[in-house]
């Protein structure tokens, strides 16, 4: 993935992220967030995580942003934001953020792990089929032999093979979440 594209998408993600943080109107923030998620999904794709990239767009950019926009519209939040700038909070926020970034850059810079690039760690698709072991489904091994990465299948396989139980828990979590939302947003009849 040519570096130029990487920088382009990184710029989109960070730029729109910055816009979210500094935006006056919540709606613009919400849309900026969606755009930043798209940029992010592109970065996922550059990392050969196609399934995750798609999921990112579907769930985040799609569902979450829509939810936000819906709520913003519902609550009709005006952009009274500009009343007064809470200077100390902004200063401390910016200060902390810059400190954190510097630290991360310093940390990442100092470890040799970060030097890996997609060139010097190529995916050995061919011999992976052999190594993956008998339990692998024939579809996966055929695609591997054919030389491309069955990303979605592999994720599915790992999810259902190793993390079956966790999936049930996540399912339950989502169920509880939805019930909670319903209970919370019920209008109290008997409220005085």
């Amino acid at each position: 993935m040519p570096p130029l594209l990487f920088y382009f998408f990184a710029l989109i993600t960070l730029g729109f992220g910055f816009l979210v943080v500094t935006g006056r109107n919540p709606v613009t923030c919400a849309l900026a967030l969606a755009a930043s998620f798209v940029g992010l999904a592109a970065l996922f794709l550059s990392l050969d995580a196609y399934f995750i990239g798609v999921i990112q767009i579907l769930v985040y950019a799609g569902a979450v942003m829509v939810l936000f926009l819906f709520i913003i519209m519902l609550l009709d939040i005006k952009t009274e934001e500009g009343k007064k700038l809470n200077l100390p909070a902004i200063v401390s926020g910016v200060l902390l953020a810059s400190l954190l970034t510097l630290q991360i850059i310093a940390v990442v810079g100092s470890t040799e792990l970060a030097q890996k690039t997609s060139e010097n760690t190529p995916l050995a698709l061919a011999d992976a089929a052999g190594k993956i072991g008998k339990a692998a489904l024939p579809t996966i091994t055929n695609d591997l032999k054919a030389g491309e990465l069955p990303d979605a299948k592999l994720i599915g396989f790992t999810l259902f093979d190793q993390y079956g139980f966790h999936l049930q828990v996540i399912g339950l979590l989502l169920l509880v979440g939805t019930i909670g939302v319903v209970v919370l947003s019920k209008r109290e009849r008997s409220a005085p």
Binding site: A89, S92, G93, L96, L100, Q103, A106, V107, S110
Partner: protein
């Protein structure tokens, strides 16, 4: 045996009076007078024994810790016998006199109880064998003078006077105790007078002993002298004696003329080996004595209260005696022993003659005050010669003795002895100042005599003055006899021991004392004959050199103001630092922690972020460098 009678009888009489004065009613007076008479008789028996060796008997155990002993042990030698005679004789006379003088006083038991307590403590000082016993009775004498001066405590002036007397004595005792401690340490744990005497001659404190330091001996001598200054009212600590006249007159006669104030001089003569050991101390003592004598004499010339005049004359005579002690010690430094065979000391000689005529003068003034219904101002008296003949004649004898009428009165011999000692002390100022004081003494005493007894009565009370009852006249007559004959050789045998050797004093001394007597008398007669108002008016002397005011300021500034400052500082620093500071810190910490749960969201996230950065920094950058 009779030493214990002399010492303990007054103590038990005081105790009995203290405990049972309500039941005893009048009897307590008889107990006290009886005890004084018995102790006088016991003293005569003691003198009759006249066994010469100094016996040092242990009477009562007080403190024995391991090898350290500080007990009530009695040292009987010539000096203590002579002094004992004076104390018990004058004590008895004063007891008899106060029977009459205090007849209509409602607190008689308390008065006589305190008198017995005084006799007990004064005997204690005289018979003391070691310095600690002397210190014990030193303070008990201070207590009894406090009780007696403050007898009429309803009067604010008397209450102030007794407090002043006790505190000034206490300052003296402060110095005395330091002196005792120094000697105790240097002499290896014994403060017995004989041991100290030998220690100074041959023992650890002798000049040739190793580690001898002249400074130390001077310091010890001056500290002990500080104790004497407090008791004998020498210059810096003299302010309490004139105010002590607030007490009843018999008290002034006994305590503030004859015995208590003389205790200081008695103690100095007792420790003369210490003063002779340090020339510097001797000079200082002589200087202070001479200055006190001169200053008091000047003040006495301008006093109008009969008792104040006598008080200042006592101060002046005490200065004389202390000067004599210093002078003799200085003379001893120059090698020629001043006194001959018998160990009499000019100061002791003057002390015992002065005791007689000064007690007589005070009792005389008491009779005059009693007759003039408690009138003390001499300018309101006058012409008492005709109304009170016996009192007049005895008072006149006393005055002449004090002025030193040549060859007749005892005062002349003892004053001449002192001037002689001042003369051979090798420091001429002492002699000149002494003669000047003699002039002033005869001047103000003759002034007193003329104004009070001659001329015509100035007020009603002086006009109606009648002779005092017999009980008060008897002591006056007895003391008058002693004022004249006490210096003559054959007279009171026990007192001979106190007279110094009789080598003829230098003619200059003889001429000087006679001249001083004449000049003073003529001056007074010329100035005060037939006057109704004091012609001479020197503000400085009348106000006693403003010492009282100065001391009042010193006390107020140094003590009360300092106390106020120290209290404020103590409250701020100690209380603040140790108590308020920690409580404030803890309160502040409490407030800070409350801030953490302030409830505002951003605060939490900020701290969260800060924490993350801190940890990352620590883990990534610091720990590797520390080698973990």
């Amino acid at each position: 045996m009779n030493a214990s009678i002399i010492l303990l009888l007054p103590f038990f009489s005081a105790l009995v009076i203290l405990l049972g004065h309500r039941q005893l009613k009048g009897a307590s007076v008889l107990i006290s007078v009886g005890s004084s008479i018995i102790s006088f008789i016991a003293c005569l028996v003691l003198l009759a024994a006249a066994d010469d060796e100094n016996n040092n008997k242990l009477l009562l155990p007080f403190l024995d810790v391991g090898h350290f002993h500080a007990n009530i042990d009695v040292l009987i030698d010539k000096q203590s016998r002579g002094m004992m005679f004076i104390v018990s004789f004058i004590g008895m006379l004063v007891h008899l006199f106060s029977l009459g003088y205090m007849k209509d006083d409602d607190a008689k038991p308390r008065f006589f109880g305190s008198l017995s307590l005084f006799m007990f403590s004064m005997t204690g000082i005289v018979l003391a064998g070691n310095l600690i016993m002397m210190f014990i009775f030193w303070e008990l004498v201070g207590l009894s003078s406090y009780l007696l001066i403050g007898h009429w405590y309803q009067k604010a002036s008397a209450a102030e006077a007794c407090k002043k007397a006790f505190l000034t004595n206490r300052i003296g005792d402060f110095g005395f105790m330091i002196g005792i401690l120094l000697l105790f340490g240097a002499n290896g744990g014994s403060v017995n007078l004989d041991d100290l005497a030998t220690a100074f001659k041959s023992g650890p404190l002798a000049p040739d002993a190793p580690g001898y330091s002249a400074g130390f001996t001077t310091a010890a001598a001056l500290c002990i002298f500080l104790g004497a200054m407090g008791k004998s009212a020498q210059f810096p600590l003299h302010v309490w004696l004139p105010d002590a006249m607030e007490g009843p007159t018999p008290v002034s006669a006994l305590i503030h003329a004859a015995t208590m104030v003389a205790a200081g001089v008695y103690m100095l003569v007792r420790v003369s080996f210490l003063i002779e050991a340090s020339p510097l101390a001797a000079e200082i003592i002589a200087g202070i004595g001479c200055f006190t004598a001169l200053m008091a004499a000047l003040m006495a010339t301008q006093q109008n209260d009969i008792k104040r005049v006598l008080a200042y004359s006592t101060l002046s005579q005490l200065g004389y005696m202390v000067m004599a002690v210093g002078a003799v010690a200085m003379a001893a430094q120059h090698g020629h022993e001043a006194h001959g065979p018998n160990p009499g000391h000019p100061a002791m000689f003057h002390l015992y003659t002065h005791a007689f005529f000064k007690a007589m003068l005070f009792l005389g003034s008491g009779a005059v005050i009693y007759a003039c219904h408690h009138e003390q101002d001499i300018w309101k008296m006058g012409g008492l010669r005709k109304h009170m003949p016996v009192t007049f004649w005895t008072f006149a004898i006393g005055t002449l003795a004090l002025m030193g009428l040549p060859y007749v009165t005892s005062g002349f011999y003892s004053k001449e002895g002192i001037l002689g000692a001042a003369y051979d002390s090798g420091c001429s100022i002492l002699f000149h100042a002494g003669t000047l004081t003699a002039v002033l003494t005869s001047f103000y005493m003759m002034r007193l005599l003329i104004v009070a007894f001659f001329g015509k009565p100035r007020t009603e009370s002086a006009h109606h003055a009648t002779e005092v009852p017999m009980i008060m006249l008897l002591p006056l007559v007895l003391l008058a006899i002693f004022s004249i004959f006490s210096a003559w050789d054959g007279f009171a045998t026990p007192l001979q021991a106190l007279k110094p050797a009789h080598e003829r004093p230098h003619t200059t001394v003889l001429v000087a004392s006679i001249l001083a007597f004449l000049i003073g008398t003529i001056g007074a007669i010329y100035l005060y004959r037939g006057k109704d108002k004091d012609p001479v008016n020197i503000k400085l002397f009348a106000n006693k050199f403003y010492f009282d005011e100065m001391y009042a300021v010193i006390v107020r500034v140094c003590q009360d103001r300092l106390a106020w400052i120290v209290t404020a500082l103590e409250r701020v620093f100690v209380d603040g630092l140790i108590v308020r500071l920690p409580t404030a810190i803890i309160a502040r910490l409490g407030a800070a922690t409350r801030l953490l749960q302030g409830g505002h969201l951003q605060g939490y996230t900020f701290l969260l972020g800060g924490g993350v950065i801190g940890v990352v920094y620590l883990v990534v950058f610091v720990l590797p460098r520390l080698g973990h």
